[in-house]
Symmetry: C2
């Protein structure tokens, strides 16, 4: 749906509010992908936006803003009156709302928060200090907690009181906390439904609790939740006090986002922190130019290597014919290894302690692929009718280069991982650039030895 279509619908609606089916309008907006909805809404004028939100009501408006990028949501909120903005913000899930508040200018955020109820504002202010990339940054404070001495019936009553206003993920568990708010047990909703009403929760709760510190990395928290197949994961502070929960859908968003970042880094650019269609040309250029220029510096080395061997090329121009072939092959096998390994490290399939096992395996693969490509290159050089000593130089370089490229492709990601850097930084283009320069040096050194005999 193009922005024009939504605008058209709005005009129609404004003219004939009473005989149009509001549900149909919503349905049309609902068909647009979430990433598009943000830009659709940003294309509206403030009065149009205000009219739309009045038309659909505060709750759907809050839902809509939860789905789009927090930066877009913030830009939309400042176009509304503070009363409207406050109401919509209050209706949002606190973990989403706080992301929007963090995108607002502090003075503007304060003004809007004046129009939010005291309780909701307090919840938001409690979430504000957490770094958005930590477990605390993605948790919601909305949860159902009871004391250990409460009965199953009382726990169900507490659940009923809150069920209407909480996310579905928030009511899958009832948490049991002592008087100091320390987490002592968890009660899955289904256990509650199956227990007798008069039993104290301390008798039926689970005490082997999977939980995470608020300061933990968001990706680690999300993987923990998924590994244990939980619907929600409790978050505690440094004193083991229950401060919030992470719901499964938020964990999933985190993993999706982290995977997207890894993929983009592997491709050799800084991740766009916006959906693609929302990123401006300037934003995309800024995200890519740094790596391009850095790698350009690396490729400059490749030119220097060739410059150094210019005389050999002059004497035996056939050597130049194989340059792109050889470095291309190094790039292909290196890229295969590095992507496989970066993914296996991200999923936790491979850990640094497996380094010897990985090296043994990749080196065995390297020798086999190296032999295949060594023979293929020798045959190709023979077909092209180059002198016999160049044939063997090309074949031997192919073999050594494949082994060398794959060794780099194993060592660099594992090394960065050990240093605590995301191994996805060892992108395909970075690896290719390193292999290009060193591979050419190897090629001409071998050529000087085999072809020129010095």
């Amino acid at each position: 749906m193009e922005p024009q279509v939504l605008t058209d619908i709005l005009h129609e609606v404004a003219g004939a509010l009473d005989h149009r089916d509001v549900a149909a309008v919503l349905h049309a907006a609902g068909r647009a992908a979430p990433a598009e909805r943000g830009s659709l809404l940003l294309a509206l004028t403030p009065p149009q936006l205000s009219a739309l939100f009045r038309l659909i009501g505060q709750e759907p408006a809050s839902d809509l803003l939860e789905e789009i990028a927090p930066s877009d949501a913030a830009r939309l909120l400042v176009r509304l009156s503070e009363t409207e903005a406050g109401a919509i913000l209050e209706g949002m899930d606190p973990d989403d709302a706080v992301d929007v508040v963090q995108e607002l200018a502090p003075s503007r955020a304060e003004e809007i928060l004046h129009h939010v109820s005291r309780d909701a504002a307090r919840e938001l202010l409690e979430l504000l200090p957490y770094d958005p990339d930590t477990a605390g940054g993605i948790m919601t404070p909305e949860l159902v907690a009871v004391r250990p001495e409460a009965t199953v019936q009382e726990a169900l009553a507490a659940l009923r009181d809150l069920a209407q206003q909480l996310e579905p993920g928030s009511i899958q568990y009832i948490y049991v906390a002592d008087e100091a708010r320390r987490l002592v047990g968890v009660l899955p909703l289904r256990a509650l439904v199956l227990s007798r009403p008069q039993v104290p929760v301390s008798e039926v709760m689970l005490t082997d609790i999977v939980k995470v510190r608020a300061s933990a990395d968001q990706e680690a928290a999300a993987r923990l939740l998924l590994e244990h197949d939980l619907m929600a994961l409790p978050v505690v502070d440094d004193e083991e006090r229950l401060v919030g929960i992470i719901t499964a859908d938020d964990a999933l968003d985190v993993l999706q986002e982290e995977t997207s970042e890894d993929i983009q880094r592997l491709g050799g650019s800084e991740p766009l922190d916006l959906p693609y269609l929302r990123a401006t040309v300037g934003h995309i250029v800024r995200r890519r130019l740094g790596w391009v220029m850095l790698l350009f510096g690396g490729m400059f080395l490749t030119s220097l290597v060739l410059r150094h061997f210019e005389e050999s090329i002059q004497t035996m121009v056939s050597l130049a014919v194989f340059i792109p072939l050889l470095i291309g092959m190094g790039g292909v096998v290196g890229s295969q290894t590095v992507t496989t390994l970066v993914r296996a490290l991200a999923l936790g399939e491979v850990a640094p302690r497996h380094i010897l096992q990985v090296i043994r395996k990749e080196m065995a693969v390297a020798v086999l692929l190296g032999i295949a490509l060594g023979i293929a290159n020798t045959l190709l050089a023979w077909l092209m009718g180059v002198p016999v000593d160049i044939r063997y130089t090309v074949g031997l370089t192919a073999f050594v280069l494949v082994c060398w490229a794959m060794a780099m492709a194993v060592l660099l990601p594992i090394l960065t991982h050990k240093l605590g850097i995301d191994p996805a930084i060892v992108s395909n283009p970075l690896l290719t650039t390193i292999v290009d320069a060193t591979g050419l040096f190897l090629y001409f050194t071998l050529a000087q030895w085999l072809v020129f005999g010095r």
Copy 2:
């Protein structure tokens, strides 16, 4: 944990079963990553395996086999007696068990199924016909369904009867089906808890049901579930009859697997269908060699291009110095674009109808990056002291090559997506190879015109 450690534990356990804490043994095994557990278990002899499973009991054994790769689980089952294998298979969730059965030789599967209860065997046989890559292939038939005229109390009773034996994800919803098993409504567990007991479910059920056909692609089904933040998604056959459900954790596994496949394809190899540490050297070579040889064929074209221009290189050897630099740059910017775009297509952020918008955006980025790299290359050539006409050739080639590489990087993934092929097939190495050959042709054509004046 190395295989030796598990074997040591087993020996210890066998010698002193009564005074060892079984829970501690299990805990040790539990610390190994799921991908490792399969190989740990495969390292055991059949008597050891049998002893371990007797020790931990049938239910934990079934859970263990659910977590590891179905092919590993099948290899373990055939080492046990048919009675043991049948009991463990029966204890597994049917969606996992059927994957294992599909890995067994048909005669062996039949023998083991003889030792499974009639009901469980029937459930498995109903799942067998579905293609593992479809919604039917990942669904479980275990769900709670009631007739529309049942009361809330009766629905809760039905739930209670089944809750012990079903996965947590299976009891988040009660499905309402008519006498022909057609799905007519859904009742979330929380709605049930909050309703009065005597009300018929038809009054409180949701009738706007998100569901999927059994023949639908598994990835599409998983994305549907996630988009709607569901805990489970009902699966219907061609007659709209309810045949199973997909639970959120299974949907997640599918997405994780599909993303891994995309990443490996982007890196230029066929995806390993096993965890990395479990893949043998032969398996890895087979997965990579095809693409390596295909791309080798492509790079051969690059050599032919250079061969064609050998005379130009002979006359002006400085031209050769810039070959790796220029094609390297084409590779970097192409790789940045293709990875960003393939991911955006996979997430549904970009659809084929956005093609014009994407082309406009990437071409604007290309012109800006092209200008930056054109200037950088001209300066570099000046620094290296090459003749002035080569400087301009290098600068101009850099500009045109960046635009060309990025155009290919936009068009190829969108084209494959339109043809119904996974766009991840347009891997970084494939794109680089295409850009290499065409880029060099461009470079030497420009050189002949600018340097040699013909």
